[in-house]
C-alpha cells in the first residue's frame, strides 16, 4: 500500500510504502500506478502539481554574457561604448546636465552606468546575474546607446533574449 503524507496546506511532504493500512487524515492512500511527487498538492480528492515560481537569479559567466549572449555586431558596439565610458573625464563623470553627450554623441548618463557596471562585474568576479536590478539598469543604458536596436519591440526582444540566457541566432 502506498501513501502520500501531506502537510496543513495539502502539499505532499513524504511518501510511504507499507504492508499495513494507516488511518490518518494526513496520509492519503494512493491507487495502483498513481504517481505523486513531493510538492504535489492534494485538494478535493485530486492531486495537482504546482507551477514552480519564476527564478529570481540567473548567473552566467562574464565571458558568456559579453561574448556569447551578445552578437558580434553588438560586441563591436559594446566595445566602442565601453571605450567611451572608460575615457570619460572627471568633468564628464560629474556633468549631470540632462542630455549631455560626449564627443561621439553618447549620452553621458548612459556611459556612466556602463562604466559602473563594468566595475561591478569586475568586483563580483567572473559571473553576472542576468536577472538582477543592476543588470536592468545596464540594459537600459545600453539600449539608450543604441546597442539593442532602434525600435522599442526590437530592444525589448533583444533584452529578453539575453536575460533568458539564449544565444543570438
Amino acid at each position: 500500500m502506498r501513501y502520500a503524507q501531506i502537510n496543513n496546506a495539502g502539499a505532499c511532504i513524504g511518501l510511504l510504502d507499507t504492508p499495513k493500512a494507516i488511518s490518518d487524515a494526513r496520509m492519503i492512500l494512493l491507487g495502483a500506478g498513481e504517481s505523486v511527487s513531493i510538492g504535489d498538492v492534494y485538494a478535493d480528492n485530486a492531486w495537482t502539481t504546482p507551477t514552480p515560481p519564476a527564478p529570481t537569479e540567473l548567473y552566467v559567466k562574464r565571458y558568456r554574457f559579453l561574448f556569447q549572449l551578445h552578437s558580434v555586431p553588438q560586441q563591436i558596439m559594446l566595445d566602442a561604448i565601453q571605450t567611451a565610458a572608460d575615457n570619460l573625464t572627471p568633468a564628464q563623470i560629474g556633468d549631470m546636465t540632462p542630455g549631455a553627450t560626449d564627443a561621439n554623441g553618447f549620452i553621458l548618463d548612459a556611459l556612466r552606468v556602463i562604466r559602473i557596471a563594468r566595475q561591478q562585474m569586475e568586483a563580483i568576479g567572473d559571473r553576472v546575474d542576468l536577472l538582477s536590478p543592476d543588470m536592468d539598469i545596464f540594459f537600459a543604458a545600453a539600449a539608450a546607446l543604441g546597442l539593442y536596436g532602434s525600435t522599442s519591440p526590437d530592444i525589448a526582444a533583444e533584452i529578453a533574449r539575453i536575460k533568458s540566457n539564449t544565444l543570438p541566432e
Binding site: Q5, I13, G14, P19
Partner: protein
C-alpha cells in the same frame, strides 16, 4: 557456544521479519526536523535505517544535507538535521521483526 539466530532476533518460534516500510519525508529549508507517519510497529522489535538524503536544485553547502532518523514511537519516524538550508528529502526504511 554459538549464538542462536532466534536469541538475536527474538522468538524461539521463528524470529523473522514482520514488515518492511520504506518512505521519504521532507525537511523544509527553514526547519531542522520533520516527522513521517508509518503503519504501527512494535518499537521494541523494530529499527529504522537512514537511506540517504536528496536535495532538489543546486546546492553549494552540504552541511544541511545530512539527517538522523529515529523511530520515535510506534507510528512515527523523526528526521533531524543541524543546519537549515535548502529543503531536503530524507529516505528511510523501518524493519519490524515478528
Amino acid at each position: 557456544m554459538p549464538i542462536a539466530y532466534e536469541s538475536l532476533f527474538g522468538g524461539g518460534g521463528g524470529g523473522g521479519i514482520a514488515s518492511i516500510q520504506r518512505g521519504t519525508i521532507t525537511i523544509a529549508s527553514s526547519t531542522t526536523s520533520n516527522t513521517a507517519t508509518i503503519s504501527a510497529v512494535d518499537p521494541s522489535k523494530s529499527f529504522v535505517i537512514w537511506n540517504g538524503s536528496k536535495f532538489p536544485g543546486s546546492y553549494s553547502n552540504f552541511s544541511g544535507a545530512f539527517a538522523s532518523v529515529n523511530l520515535t514511537n510506534a507510528t512515527t519516524v523523526t528526521a533531524e538535521r543541524s543546519s537549515t538550508l535548502q529543503d531536503i528529502v530524507v529516505a528511510f526504511t523501518v524493519v519490524e521483526f515478528s
